[in-house]
């Protein structure tokens, strides 16, 4: 028995909320780790503050602590649970940082907790820049000449030594926060302080810039016997200079010759040995494109986004293997689950090409700087598998769900050639499309190569797509030509665009010629061994390997890449749906394309198709598998968008029907239904011109909420309070959707409530009513949501439940429904109805103890609520409070407005739980980044219209011991009510200015309300950004401030109420 039997209980640290640079890949890794531990009979104690994850499901661990990831609390959990081991290398950088803190302060030693897998020393050697450099030098691995600096003064002479351009890399950060290229001493002066502030140890590295070198990554694993493997090599199409998370990445490497590849493989193994890692690591290299010169750029001694990608690209489950290594197994003792009969001690061989393309949030942040650099900006990614590079690339682009059917965008077709070239050399998120457009216009490959520094191989490959495009446009479509085009990844819809026909016609022609998709298996061994893996991708080849699963198969449509508005919650729902199907005796087939998530773990379903979530691919799968039904209600808007195509193709949509979806989305039908049900909604009008808009507002009255139709995550919405604001916004909105009406609603500033319910056509169970702290107008995804509904008046509860029942039955919902209400002046209005899973389902499932998706899936399969033993209209409250708090990634997105509004901006969420609402709030604040016991000074600069409400509130904080700094207007009003205020000047009007008190660390809280957003020149905007860049906490909503004040007592001491696990709170134990 290889396993260390002393280990009876192990603490696993999760990665917390999703932020740019740390996303769902850790849910995937962490869930695998917990499963492995449970399989080996080890009790799992988990700490993670992210409720939207599979990992934090109460069944995944024995004890789940949904607590802030702070060393204080983890120490308390250790004292309470007394685990023998700690597994910290699967919780991202957060997990690693926690392990270091607990190791350094002696906690681990004093409680006899053994760090499993990679030892503390190895983590230190990898993470500490100086130790790392020394270690690499000892084994002859070249590292860049660089200097560690802690102040600006010491940085200047060293920067001169290195020469510009140079790179600033803050120590101990994720996704390169605060780093970047620096071209002059002036830029160094501006950028270094930001970098130092971003580093938890106020340390930055200055190094020579290798812009234009190839960026190559290796995933390596090592066991206690010193057996080392490289699992996957990856090549960034975008050369060094753009963060790997923001680069298009292919696996395996494409432009390395055998000697390059062997050299770097040996280097990766030498490095993992030298560092002494027992587990997995990711090694990044820079390779000179003109020689064999290379440098080791970085090592992550843990699983990472890249290891998730490598796992999905090869089928080799790195997190699982690493967890077993941590338990004491050696690689040859671990079974390769893909083949089922070989061991994990081998290097995967692949017979396809994998392409990863990032998903950026610039559709939400139109003002953001789109230039890509060493600081990651994407929120998610897609992966595609093909048998040629053009095929994989086009599949990936179509998986992004940004409306691309190919490397073609109408907007970019309108660019001038100069604009194209500028963009290509700058390197922004659109570069791929810019390059393609430039190729169309005859810009030479050499010019594009020079501007982009992308390897000629990739430009040539993209040019193959361009050439094919031209041939399709110029020549009659023959069987051979169509076959060739399909093998290059051309979608039917794109061929239709190029030939002026329809995608249905193209499909018909194609199938008439017998050109059908085939399915190939991802088997880790390129066909060398027979495999059992239920993991497939499509391509156009001679032979098909797929054997349909047969009867009792149900397809789950996944949710695609993680983006703002559609995050990991929907992946959670897809996974639960698959599990529920299996419980009910069905075979679950998953279709998805997000390499980071649990749903694309081939163990989760009976069969996984790694495919674009596009009509063409999805229907092809359905025709092959012939499922008894398809579930579209769990994959967010992505799946909903496919519903009509699936329905029209003759497949059964299980649960809520297409008509239900249409009824909820079609505003005219929906309004007629509400009228019939006598339910109120804010007055609204659809308008198509400015003149119509003014007429409409005459009736509706300001303030109004303006939005385009068919929206996701509140994109493009804005509150307008005056004709000027309305005019300004409409000009912008009209640009977004030229042929769609714009909707103007009366904005009702009341209490916003959100409900998730399950209906079976006859009965309805409201699982919970959540109250939003921020008043209506702040997107529900960006609001603090409070559970349960203790503060609501009985009439309101009753009305909410009644309205939910009426709506669910009228819509004939079979499954989940999410409704948002606003209560204002004793009246309940309906804001939005979504007959599908919602962002709050994982949160509510956890705090209610009711596995909502499972219940809903069984309803969709025909088991009524009564049959499932659910008889209540309103599910019982639990005896504790929980708060869902949004988490933002502002520091990664420079120049973005941080004030909240109807557009969703948060990237992730945390949960806080407590006996009282205040305690839950305090924990939620803490989990989202507040540090207790530190506060004492705040800066207030409040817009005129908010002062009346803000002044008493600030006075309360002053009474709690806060020192108050304020700008003149706010200061006068504060003094008038007897608050002692230190006056600070507005920007450029004397010292100390607002920016001085923030950047010098004098205040640790900024309260600033948005007077008029969007304009980056305004003071408020700059103040808020300044707070973000200096890691100073801020509030832009007075509702949040009120909450903060209410739970302030919990922040006064560091002695917090001891952590309680979810299982204990739910009284399961």
């Amino acid at each position: 028995m290889p396993q260390d039997l002393r280990l009876k209980k192990v603490l696993v640290i999760g990665s917390g909320p999703i932020v740019i640079g740390q996303a769902a890949e850790f849910d995937y890794a962490g869930t695998q780790a917990c499963r492995v531990l449970q399989e080996q009979g080890v009790e799992v104690v988990l700490v993670n503050s992210n409720p939207a994850t599979i990992m934090t499901d109460p069944e995944v661990a024995h004890r789940t602590y949904l607590e802030p990831l702070s060393p204080e609390l983890i120490r308390q959990i250790i004292a309470k649970e007394r685990p023998q081991g700690l597994l910290a290398t699967l919780g991202g950088q957060i997990g690693l940082n926690m392990a270091l803190l607990l190791g350094n302060d002696g906690t681990l030693e004093s409680y006899g907790v053994e760090l499993l897998g990679t030892p503390l020393e190895a983590i230190r050697r990898s993470e500490d820049r100086q130790l790392f450099k020394e270690c690499m030098q000892q084994v002859g691995q070249p590292v860049l000449e660089s200097y560690t600096v802690q102040t600006l003064e010491e940085a200047f002479p060293l920067a001169e030594l290195l020469g510009y351009p140079l790179i600033i890399r803050p120590a101990f950060t994720l996704g390169g926060t605060g780093g970047g290229f620096c071209y002059s001493a002036q830029e160094l002066k501006e950028m270094l302080p930001i970098g130092l502030a971003a580093s938890p140890i106020q340390q930055c590295l200055l190094e020579r810039s290798l812009q234009g070198w190839k960026e190559i990554e290796y995933e390596a694993v090592r066991d206690k016997n010193d057996t080392c493997l490289t699992i996957c090599s990856m090549e960034n199409v975008d050369p060094l200079g753009i963060h790997t998370g923001d680069s298009i990445v292919v696996a395996p490497t494409q432009t390395l010759d055998h000697q390059d590849a062997t050299m770097l493989r040996h280097a990766a193994i030498a490095i993992i040995q030298a560092l002494g890692i027992e587990g997995g690591c990711n090694v990044q290299f820079a390779l000179n494109p003109q020689s064999r010169e290379y440098y080791v750029i970085e090592v992550n001694p843990r699983v990472s986004r890249s290891s998730a990608l490598a796992s999905k690209a090869t089928g080799y489950p790195i997190a699982r293997v690493v967890s077993l290594i941590a338990l004491g197994f050696t690689l040859d003792e671990i079974t390769n689950p893909i083949t089922g009969h070989t061991t994990a001690c081998f290097e995967p061989a692949i017979d396809y090409i994998v392409c990863k393309v990032p998903r950026w949030p610039f559709d939400k942040f139109r003002i953001a700087n789109r230039k890509l650099s060493t600081q990651m900006k994407s929120t998610g990614e897609v992966m595609a598998i093909g048998r040629s590079f053009p095929e994989a690339l086009q599949k990936a682009v179509r998986s992004l769900e940004q409306g691309y059917e190919a490397l073609y965008s109408q907007d970019i077709a309108a660019y001038s050639t100069e604009e194209l070239q500028e963009g290509i050399s700058e390197g922004n998120d659109l570069r791929l499309f810019l390059m393609m457009e430039a190729l169309r216009r005859g810009v030479t490959l050499a010019e594009i190569g020079e501007a982009s520094q992308i390897d000629p191989f990739f430009i040539q490959e993209i040019n193959r797509i361009c050439l094919m495009e031209q041939i399709i446009q110029q020549q009659p479509l023959t069987r051979d030509l169509l076959w060739e085009a399909k093998r290059l990844g051309f979608a039917d819809s794109e061929i239709a665009r190029l030939t002026g026909s329809s995608k249905e016609q193209v499909r018909q022609t194609r199938e008439g010629w017998g050109l059908k998709r085939v399915y190939k298996m991802v088997d880790t061994c390129a066909g060398l061994y027979p495999s059992e893996a239920p993991y497939y991708y499509s391509t156009f080849e001679e032979y098909d390997e797929l054997v349909p699963l047969g009867n009792q198969t149900v397809v789950v449509i996944g949710s695609g890449p993680i983006r703002i508005g559609q995050g990991v919650e929907f992946d959670y729902c897809s996974v639960h749906a698959a599990q529920a199907l299996q419980e009910a005796g069905y075979q679950a087939v998953m279709i998805n394309n997000n390499p980071e998530t649990v749903s694309t773990d081939f163990n989760v379903s009976d069969r996984l198709f790694f495919e674009p979530l596009q009509e063409e691919e999805v229907l092809d799968i359905l025709w092959r598998e012939q499922p008894v039904g398809v579930l579209v209600q769990f994959g967010g808007q992505t799946a909903i968008n496919l519903a009509s195509a699936i329905h029209e193709a003759g497949f059964t949509i299980l649960g809520s029907s297409l008509d239900t979806i249409d009824l909820a989305e079609d505003r005219a039908r929906f309004e007629a239904m509400l009228e019939e049900l006598a339910l109120a909604r804010p007055p609204a009008r659809g308008v198509r011109s400015l003149a119509e808009a003014y007429q409409a507002v005459e009736v509706i009255g300001y303030p109004v909420l303006v939005r385009p139709s068919y929206v996701l995550g509140g994109r493009g919405m804005e509150i307008c309070r005056s004709p000027e604001e309305l005019e300004g916004f409409l000009e912008e909105a009209a640009k977004i959707t030229p042929n769609h009406p714009v909707l103007i609603d009366r904005y009702i500033p009341g209490k916003e409530l959100e409900v998730d319910a399950i209906a079976d056509g006859e009965h309805v169970v409201v699982v919970g009513i959540m109250e939003h702290i921020e008043r209506a107008g702040v997107h529900s995804g960006d609001s603090l949501a409070v559970y349960p509904w203790s503060d609501l008046e009985p009439w309101l509860i009753e009305e909410v439940v009644e309205a939910t029942k009426k709506l669910s039955l009228a819509l004939q919902v079979k499954g989940l429904i999410n409704i948002q209400f606003v209560a204002h002046e004793e009246k309940l209005y309906i804001l939005e109805v979504n007959p599908r899973s919602s962002r709050t389902v994982p949160f509510l499932s956890k705090v209610s103890g009711l596995p909502m998706v499972r219940v809903a899936t069984k309803v969709a399969l025909g088991q009524s609520l009564r049959q499932q033993g659910i008889t209540r209209d309103l599910w019982h409250k639990n005896g504790f409070s929980a708060v869902k708090a949004p988490v933002f990634s502002w520091s990664k997105l420079r120049g973005v407005e941080i004030g909240l509004g109807p557009e969703m901006k948060s990237t992730g969420e945390v949960i806080g739980m407590g006996i009282s609402r205040e305690e839950a709030l305090a924990r939620a604040f803490w989990a989202s980044g507040w540090k207790p016991g530190k506060n004492k000074a705040l800066l207030a600069t409040i817009a005129n219209r908010d002062r009346k409400e803000a002044i008493p509130l600030i006075k309360l904080l002053w009474r709690e011991g806060y020192e108050i700094y304020a700008t003149p207007g706010t200061a006068v009003d504060l003094e008038a009510v007897g608050v002692e205020v230190t006056l600070v000047h507005k920007m450029n009007l004397g010292t100390p200015s607002v920016l001085d008190v923030i950047s010098s660390g004098l205040v640790d809280l900024v309260i600033n309300t948005v007077s008029k957003g969007r304009d980056p020149q305004r003071d408020g905007f700059i103040i808020r950004r300044c707070a973000v860049e200096h890691d100073v906490r801020y509030f832009t909503s007075l509702d949040t401030v009120t909450c903060f004040w209410r739970c302030l007592s919990f922040f006064q001491s560091t002695e917090f109420i001891p952590p309680i696990s979810l299982q204990e709170r739910l009284n399961w134990i």
Binding site: T227, F346, P348, A349, I350, D351, K520, A526, Y529
Partner: protein
């Protein structure tokens, strides 16, 4: 995924139609030295790249194969072919036009091969140490490259003639090289080899390893599915020490052979298995209970280019040094 050039130019590929499972072949082109020779009989790929990119590239793969007269077949579903080979065992094949008839019989490649690469560069003899004799079965070039670093004089013996006639009177050791094809072709060498093992340390690789087994009473067989690729896991059996060095318990090896030693045939011999492939149990290395002989089925490195990278190789060479002095 990389390494197509090395496999095409590996003498062990002589007589083989190489089917590459990875679909994109030729991305970085080729950079053949003067006089480079391709050995594969034909090359079959899913997609061959005619626009290679690498700073050392002097030719595209299709152009190189054309100069070598090696047929290239592309746009083939090579995964399907790979699976067919796995299921059917190493199958005979022919590359022809779509309407051509399959041949009646399949000719064997002409063996032994005439070694080429090392001949051009005269072997440096600067030492007064007794030389190392290398029996060349067609693939001594890579081994000779490494041996030169040891500063031993080298004497290379072609396999077409009696070994003894070339063997110097005083000799440090005999190295039997790798080479293509069926070890049975070399039966005429066996009695002599058997005799040499009693008076000289013998080290053998690849085909040499098979000959050594045959010479000492073991047997070989044609594998249903040869080992061809860069990711075979080899396990070192205890004791994992050789001389002063400790061998890695597991290593990933690059292989190119279609015959193997029949383990049961070693029962009556003094040979013992030292290495085994982890997944199919193929004998990958042997040593002798009393005599200084050791053999490996593979060249102990992933690249088939550099022999001194792995622990077992360092052990091997240091052992030679020790025996030599």
């Amino acid at each position: 995924m990389s390494g197509y050039y090395e496999y095409i130019c590996d003498p062990c590929s002589a007589g083989l139609i190489l089917v590459f499972a990875y679909p994109l072949i030729g991305n970085y082109g080729v950079a053949p030295p003067a006089g480079a020779q391709g050995y594969a009989q034909a090359v079959v790929v899913r997609e061959s790249c005619s626009h290679p990119s690498h700073h050392l590239t002097t030719s595209s793969l299709p152009a190189f194969l054309a100069t070598q007269g090696i047929p290239l077949l592309s746009e083939v579903d090579t995964r399907a072919v790979t699976q067919h080979i796995r299921i059917s065992g190493e199958v005979r094949g022919v590359v022809g036009a779509p309407d051509s008839q399959p041949p009646v019989s399949y000719p064997e490649a002409a063996l032994p091969l005439t070694p080429t690469s090392w001949e051009e560069e005269p072997v440096a003899v600067k030492s007064d140490l007794p030389p190392l004799a290398v029996l060349d079965l067609g693939a001594a070039a890579a081994i000779c490259q490494e041996l030169k670093r040891l500063e031993y004089p080298l004497v290379v013996i072609p396999a077409t003639q009696p070994v003894a006639s070339h063997l110097p009177s005083e000799c440090t050791a005999l190295i039997i090289s790798d080479g293509p094809g069926d070890p049975g072709v070399y039966r005429h060498l066996l009695p002599e080899l058997q005799q040499l093992t009693t008076c000289l340390p013998v080290y053998a690789f690849g085909l040499g390893h098979l000959l050594l087994a045959l010479a000492l009473g073991g047997d070989c067989y044609r594998m249903p599915c040869g080992h061809r690729g860069s990711n075979y896991t080899v396990q070192t059996l205890p004791p994992v020490t050789l001389g002063d060095a400790t061998l890695e318990p597991m290593h990933i090896t690059s292989q190119n052979h279609g015959y193997a030693v029949l383990e049961s045939s070693l029962l009556g011999t003094q040979l013992e298995v030292s290495h085994r492939e982890l997944h199919d149990g193929t004998v990958e290395g042997m040593w002798h209970r009393s005599l200084p002989l050791w053999s490996l089925q593979y060249l102990p490195d992933c690249s088939r280019l550099t022999l001194d990278q792995t622990e077992e190789c360092r052990a091997f060479w240091s052992y030679i040094r020790k025996v030599g002095s």
